[in-house]
């Protein structure tokens, strides 16, 4: 029997417009009746089976125990089970055997690392800001604290509604229910959800858009960002709703908060850190305050110009059109601040701006004819400030530009009066209350000529270019300092501003073209037409509550679907972050609702919104335990023909390991995996779990991209799963995989076994958790005992390789020596550098290769190729330093001997120089340093410096920097022996990479 795919998939009717299924309240559907009574273990199975039976299909038999425990362990931990765990489960004949496995896995701290990472994909997690100017710091100091909070929340099974509330509004909630300490503010880290997005070069509109998109797509699976420019084309999301949410985020500013947690231990160097921090903060504050005072004075003095500019505000450029403004240029940000002020004033009879409001409403071509009458009316109004009334009574403006001049003159007089009054005596206000009212327009805390309180990142655009650069530099000094290991952990939170206002719609998304004002409130699609505006602060907590609400039709459904997706490889709704009209309807709508209902109810084991209870419910079902492979000949083909994508789940879906599971499994197989929880980002070359590796959205390593890692610039609900040769190249050729093969072959419990066949058996159990077949043992033996290839020519190293060191340090011109020499820590196979990424987060561009290298990012990070004399004598040094770039200012090269001091130095900019010296006397242990620094700035500081050293006279001895260049002095990077080659093959195999 062949059923049409279309018939199967459209069983749930496609809703249109306001009739969208996802927006209807969650139902509690009855559990359906089924014929095959023996199969279901749980109600979930009855929902699945009912659809299968309706389509004339049968489910698959249960998977064998090894498959099942492997599946469950990868599923919950992203790691393989140990052979002991497999054996214990196989030997456990009790009916609750699998239940025990699931409970053990859910209690493991590795669970949060696996499921937290899925959440981080949604949260566009990155440890760096994305593209920033050179003067700014690139690293987020708070990102990993958010990552660790997410992992902890999953491990503690923080109720999902609480989990969401904290990520959107932890600052407005009482301290963590899980904390025992009143001072514990570690929950603030949750707000990293809002603040780990890209920085968009500081353009606020885009930063807010990113936050709206992350919140609404993650929690509601609605694509609200589509409504930035126009009403959503397909879903009931008007553009006003986008700006309702925009208003919420526009009413917030960023604040970096140190975390106080009883879990945190204080570094012995804390005092030193704190002192340095205070110095840097004091510098920034002093500059910031004086810049603000200076700017506000300038703004008050130019009121007339700004009012004129408001009249042309729609022609103004936004921040993305970045002009290098000088101190006296009109700043579009201030113009928009005046524009907003006048817009608010225009909503009522404003005693000062009533004439402006009245006249601004007149079309320009009627101004001359209608203005006199309007002025007459408005000046007759007793509510008008008499000072303003007088100014207009005496004037006959012929255009709005004249009106602006009248106000400008008024404010100039008031400001002058205030200056005079201050000179005369210390005072708080002008004696004339009418004049004082005018003064308040310029001097009140929320004056349009003031800078709203907030952090540098919130208000850099208020300043001229020179000030902006300086502010960013000072801010970067602090951020770099905060990366010190002695620093506390930080949360970057949003906090509500003191003054709140609604956003106005940006017509067609253009911030210069403002439309109607919209209240801050939640989406019509969810709450209906008569939803109430938010009333408290920015409304962020109310927003969070509207989402984390039992009656919200989307929240539970969306999360249930995400969890289902990661268990089965596909969701009940196939577009996990789009439940809109254009999405496929759910394959099992009743099951989705039934699960959503159970999710929101208190679980038997504890609380409501329990993610762990949901896992348990799903994993104990018969549908989860099905084989991914059928055993009845012929049946499988028919079922595949009827339902090619297995939407009805007649079997389990085979899944390939994702990047993290793959890498972690390699380290688990070798027994090298470091299970330390949390902390600052680690290196991909380390043995920590992959979830802790630095995610640099600016320089994402190729291996992450090749293995479909989530793009950290975007919310990623489900990763691609591609198969490309770059992945195979990684397995065939990367140092990481070869090192794992070596480590596994050299595991003591492997080495201890000498008979080859037994050792092969052991390897199979370690890698696949099963014994090999006898055929597999035979082919292994054959491989291992094959005669070695005729070209065993291991890379030849001259005996002199050990006399070189590759490091960095600073050249001290007074002492004429290199100070602070440290070895570069990481060898790529061709270069010594700071880490596997280049540039490295700490050591930047510093790098040495066989031929030359690249100077580090400052004078403290000159690269140093150091030769140490093995005996006394005199040497001849020869070579040539080359810099071949026009851009930048070139490099400085120095030849320094610890005995003779500086031998020579060169400044080279697209130039080269011979570096020949002879004889140079040395004693055993003396060093000769070949030093290159960046001169004055970091730009094209790559160089080559091939050099030779030779003892002159008797005894001989020759060194060649290029030929001698090598990696670690141990043979760790040498050729692989047959066992290692064999293990590498086992690690490459499909069996290792697929979960049945």
């Amino acid at each position: 029997m062949v059923l049409s795919t279309v018939l199967i998939c459209c069983a749930a009717s496609r809703a249109v417009g306001g009739d969208l299924w996802a927006l209807k309240p969650v139902q509690d559907p009855p559990v359906p009746d089924v014929s095959l009574q023996a199969w279901p273990r749980t109600p979930i199975d009855r929902f699945i089976l009912a659809r299968l039976e309706a389509a004339g299909l049968e489910p698959s038999p249960e998977a064998d125990k090894r498959t099942l425990i492997r599946r469950a362990t990868y599923d919950l931990l992203g790691l393989p089970p140990t052979q002991e765990q497999v054996r214990a489960f196989e030997d456990d004949a009790s009916p609750t055997g699998f239940e025990k496995v699931v409970d053990r896995l859910l209690a493991s701290p590795q669970y949060g690392e696996r499921w937290g990472r899925y959440w981080l994909d949604l949260a566009r997690y990155s440890d760096t800001k994305g593209y920033v100017y050179d003067r700014e710091a690139t690293r987020f100091v708070h990102a990993h604290t958010y990552r660790d909070w997410v992992i902890r929340a999953f491990n503690q099974d923080l109720p999902y509604d609480q989990f969401l509330l904290r990520q959107i509004a932890a600052d407005k909630l009482p301290a963590d229910a899980c904390a025992n300490d009143a001072d514990d503010n570690s929950d603030l880290a949750a707000m990293g959800f809002l603040t780990v997005g890209r920085r968009f070069l500081g353009v606020t509109y885009d930063i807010i858009d990113d936050r709206i998109d992350a919140v609404v797509r993650t929690t509601q699976a609605l694509t609200v960002a589509c409504a930035r420019c126009h009403d959503h084309k397909f879903d009931p999301i008007p553009t006003e709703d986008y700006y309702s949410l925009y208003g919420v985020f526009a009413g917030t500013s960023e604040r970096l908060m140190p975390i106080h947690s009883p879990l945190a231990s204080r570094s012995p160097r804390f005092a030193e850190y704190e002192k340095g921090l205070k110095e840097r903060e004091a510098k920034l504050d002093a500059f910031f305050n004086s810049a603000k005072a200076d700017l506000c004075a300038r703004l008050r003095a130019r009121t007339s110009d700004y009012l004129q500019a408001v009249l042309r505000a729609d022609k103004l450029h936004t921040e993305i059109f970045y002009t290098i403004v000088a101190k006296d240029d009109l700043n579009p940000v201030i113009v928009r601040q005046w524009q907003a002020y006048l817009f608010q004033a225009g909503k009522r009879f404003d005693p000062i701006f009533a004439p402006w409001t009245a006249l601004a409403a007149v079309p320009a071509d009627q101004f001359a004819s209608r203005a006199p009458q309007l002025i007459h009316e408005v000046t007759a109004d007793a509510r008008l400030n008499p000072v303003v009334a007088k100014a207009f009574a005496d004037a006959a403006p012929t255009s709005m530009s004249d009106v602006a001049k009248i106000y400008g003159k008024l404010f100039a007089e008031v400001d002058q009066a205030w200056a005079t009054a201050l000179k005369a005596a210390a005072t708080q206000s002008l004696p004339d209350p009418n004049q004082e009212a005018l003064r308040q327009v310029l001097y009140a805390a929320d004056a349009p000529t003031s800078i709203p309180p907030g952090s540098v990142s919130d208000m850099e655009w208020f300043f001229d270019e020179e000030t902006r650069v300086k502010l960013q530099q000072l801010q970067a000094e602090i951020e770099k300092w905060d990366l010190d290991p002695a620093a506390p952990e930080f949360a970057l939170i949003l906090q509500d501003r003191a003054v709140q206002s609604n956003a106005r719609v940006f017509k067609r998304g253009n911030p210069a073209d403002r439309g109607a004002e919209v209240p801050r409130r939640y989406l019509r699609a969810v709450l209906g037409e008569d939803r109430k505006p938010f009333t408290s602060g920015s409304g962020r907590l109310e927003l969070a509550r509207a989402i984390a609400d039992r009656n919200n039709p989307l929240t539970a459904r969306v999360m249930v679907n995400r969890i289902w997706l990661h268990h089965f490889g596909a969701g009940i709704v196939r577009t996990p972050s789009d439940f809109g009209t254009r999405a496929d309807p759910p394959s099992h709508p009743e099951l989705l609702d039934w699960l959503a209902m159970r999710f929101m109810e208190p679980a038997a084991s504890g609380h409501a919104w329990s993610v762990k209870a949901l896992h348990r419910m799903i994993m104990l079902s018969a549908v989860y335990r099905q084989s991914s492979d059928d055993d009845a000949p012929g049946r499988d083909a028919a079922r595949t023909a009827a339902d090619p994508e297995n939407r009805l789940l007649f079997r389990f879906n085979r899944q390939r390991l994702d990047f993290e599971s793959m890498r972690d499994s390699l380290l688990a197989a070798t027994d090298e995996l470091d299970l330390t929880l949390g902390g600052a980002p680690s290196d991909l070359a380390s043995t920590r779990r992959s979830v802790y590796a630095l995610v640099d959205r600016r320089f994402l390593p190729g291996v992450l991209r090749a293995f479909d890692f989530a793009n950290p610039d975007l919310h990623i609900p489900q990763r691609s799963s591609t198969t490309v040769p770059q992945q195979a190249l990684f397995f065939l050729n990367s140092a990481f995989v070869m090192d794992r093969a070596r480590a596994l072959a050299h595991r003591p419990d492997v080495q201890r076994i000498t008979p080859p066949r037994d050792r092969i058996d052991k390897l199979y159990r370690l890698i696949y958790q099963r014994p090999p077949t006898s055929h597999q043992v035979d082919e292994a033996v054959q491989f291992i005992e094959a005669p070695p290839a005729p070209t065993p020519a291991a890379p030849t190293r001259t005996t002199g390789a050990g006399d070189w060191q590759y490091g960095y340090g600073a050249y001290d011109a007074v002492a004429q020596r290199v100070t602070g020499f440290k070895k570069l820590p990481y060898f790529t196979g061709d270069a010594w550098q700071g880490g596997s990424n280049w540039p490295d987060a700490k050591l930047g561009w510093a790098r040495l290769t066989a031929e030359g290298g690249h100077a580090g990012n400052d004078l403290q990070h000159a690269v140093v190729r150091r030769w140490a004399a093995p005996r006394d004598g005199a040497i001849a040094i020869s070579g040539r330093v080359v810099h071949e770039y026009e851009a930048g200012d070139g490099i400085r090269a120095l030849l320094v001997c610890n005995r003779g001091g500086l031998l020579a130095s060169w400044t080279l900019h697209n130039q080269s120089a011979d570096a020949n010296f002879s004889p140079v006397p040395v004693k055993q242990g003396d060093t000769v340093d070949f030093v290159v620094d960046f001169r004055n700035n970091l730009n094209n500081d790559m160089f080559t410096w091939a050099t030779q050293i030779k003892f002159v006279g008797a005894g001989g001895g020759e060194w060649d920097a290029r030929k001698d260049f090598s990696g670690a002095p141990t043979d760790a990077s040498g050729p692989l022996d047959p066992w290692e080659l064999y293990v590498q093959v086992l690690l490459c195999s499909n069996e290792f990479h697929f979960i049945d």
Binding site: H232, I320, I324, T722, T723, M738, L986, S989
Partner: protein, 479 residues
């Protein structure tokens, strides 16, 4: 094809799901089959394509008749001055040092009066198109080039303008043109990356965002190569193995194949995911030698190496030709790290030096492609992210200018020896037949056989296009 590219595929929900994840590693349906069913593949091609199941980079024909099959983009990053190169403005002489009548447009920095070009323009070729003495060799090829003198972008800043030129959006994370093209056409040589970006000395500003895949799967991201790197394994990650001799690796692959076949046979159904992974190792093995060979420009005959010149820019243009010849779909050649063409001061000496570096390699590639018969189906784009102001900045330089600038097109389907559009008398602003960057993208896609309005990808509830909601094909530059 009457329905948009996406719509056809969307009729079957299964297809939509497959496409939204790009059809890889997902059960039994192959991406190529999918495109075939959607009418994107000819019947003949379909047979060939279904063999390469589950490979997102498998070559596939364009939906419409393509005029070009591959692209090379010389990105003169930093903003080359059009009034000093391809858009002569004698009127600047008249107002030298004076404010322009009609004033200056707002750019990034403060500008002053008119700055006449220090370079001489001359007519070249049959077409008699004027080119300045900065590009004497490229000028010899001008009859193969369409000069678009009325380009415009949005803002006078490098970062958003680079994003606009490369990805069609100034700020948001969107796929680059190369990623779109590789998504649409796959690539002809599975042993090499489909999309390669080269920049001597390191990344341009905005770094890898310039060749990003955005919301498309990561396989469509450009592979970055620094042609200044001395060894092959620095050019392409993991391309060779210093620790395992080739014979041993071959033996490893034989054993791996045997293990994978046994594994597959232990399963009761064929699974294309398993098969695809087996194939990827075979591909990788071949890629090691093929990539080494492709980048080995030293094997070119002496006369060809002389044609390109002994410089890093010549080298990368020559490597580009070797890559294109071997089936790489999209090659982007940056002038260099950071933003070399950004001549805020000393425009004379700076542009002289930069043009000296760029001229010979560009001319060489055009000549070489032509003599190999490849120019007729290779689309060549030459230009920066914007132009420069006709008015002076700081005495001797020019500021950024997005209001009017020049790019050159050549090759597949391009009307050679033509000039399209014009800027005002001074070169400040495109006034005649303005061509927005979106229009340029629409035209490039057209030449490659796509309708830019139907070539979409579903992401975040929207069908995204390279040209967003803009763009029109400029038929005036098409032969």
């Amino acid at each position: 094809m009457s329905e948009p590219f996406r719509e056809q595929m969307l009729r079957s929900p299964s297809r939509r799901e497959l496409l939204s994840r790009c059809g890889m590693g997902l059960g039994s349906m192959a991406f190529a089959t999918l495109l075939g069913d959607a009418g994107l593949l000819t019947a003949a091609a379909r047979g060939a394509e279904t063999a390469s199941m589950v490979n997102p980079l498998a070559a596939r024909p364009a939906p419409f008749r393509p005029r070009a099959k591959r692209v090379v983009h010389f990105f003169l990053n930093g903003g080359p001055s059009h009034v000093d190169t391809f858009d002569p403005k004698p009127a600047l002489q008249k107002f030298a040092g004076q404010p322009l009548p009609g004033g200056s447009l707002r750019t990034e920095r403060k500008t002053g009066g008119a700055l006449p070009s220090p370079f001489k323009f001359k007519k070249y070729g049959q077409s008699g198109i004027e080119v300045s003495d900065l590009f004497p060799r490229l000028a010899q090829c001008i009859d193969d080039v369409a000069v678009i003198r009325s380009m415009k972008a949005e803002v006078p800043n490098h970062e958003p303008s680079l994003m606009l030129m490369n990805c069609g959006d100034q700020q948001m994370a969107r796929p680059s043109v190369g990623a779109w093209v590789t998504y649409g056409l796959g690539t002809e040589n599975q042993n090499l990356p489909g999309f390669i970006a080269m920049s001597p000395g390191g990344y341009p500003i905005k770094e890898a965002e310039n060749w990003q895949s955005g919301f498309l799967p990561g396989v469509y991201q450009g592979t970055f190569v620094d042609p200044q790197q001395p060894t092959l394994d620095k050019l392409i990650e993991n391309i060779r193995n210093p620790r395992i001799p080739r014979e041993r690796q071959h033996a490893q692959l034989d054993l791996l194949h045997a293990l994978n076949v046994e594994h597959q046979q232990s399963k009761r159904r064929a699974d294309p995911q398993l098969e695809a992974r087996v194939q990827s190792f075979e591909l990788a093995y071949r890629m090691q030698s093929e990539a080494a060979e492709a980048f080995d420009f030293a094997s070119e005959p002496q006369n060809i190496r002389q044609l390109y010149g002994d410089s890093v820019h010549g080298r990368q243009a020559l490597i580009a030709r070797r890559l294109l010849e071997r089936g790489v779909r999209y090659v982007q050649l940056w002038h260099g790290a950071s933003q070399p063409w950004d001549s805020h001061d000393n425009i004379g000496p700076n542009h002289s030096r930069l043009a000296r570096e760029a001229d010979q390699p560009i001319a060489a590639l055009l000549t070489d492609l032509k003599q190999r018969g490849m120019l007729e189906d290779t689309l060549v784009l030459i230009g920066g992210e914007f132009g420069r102001t006709p008015v002076v900045e700081g005495g001797t330089g020019r500021d950024h200018n997005p209001y009017g600038f020049t790019v050159l097109l050549a090759g597949g389907g391009v009307r050679g020896g033509s000039v399209y559009g014009a800027t005002d008398d001074f070169g400040f602003q495109a006034v005649e037949k303005p061509v927005h960057v979106h229009d340029l993208h629409a035209t490039m896609l057209y030449l490659l056989g796509f309708d830019h309005e139907r070539f979409t990808y579903r992401y975040a509830g929207r069908d995204f296009r390279l040209t967003d909601v803009y763009g029109k094909v400029i038929h005036g530059v098409i032969a």
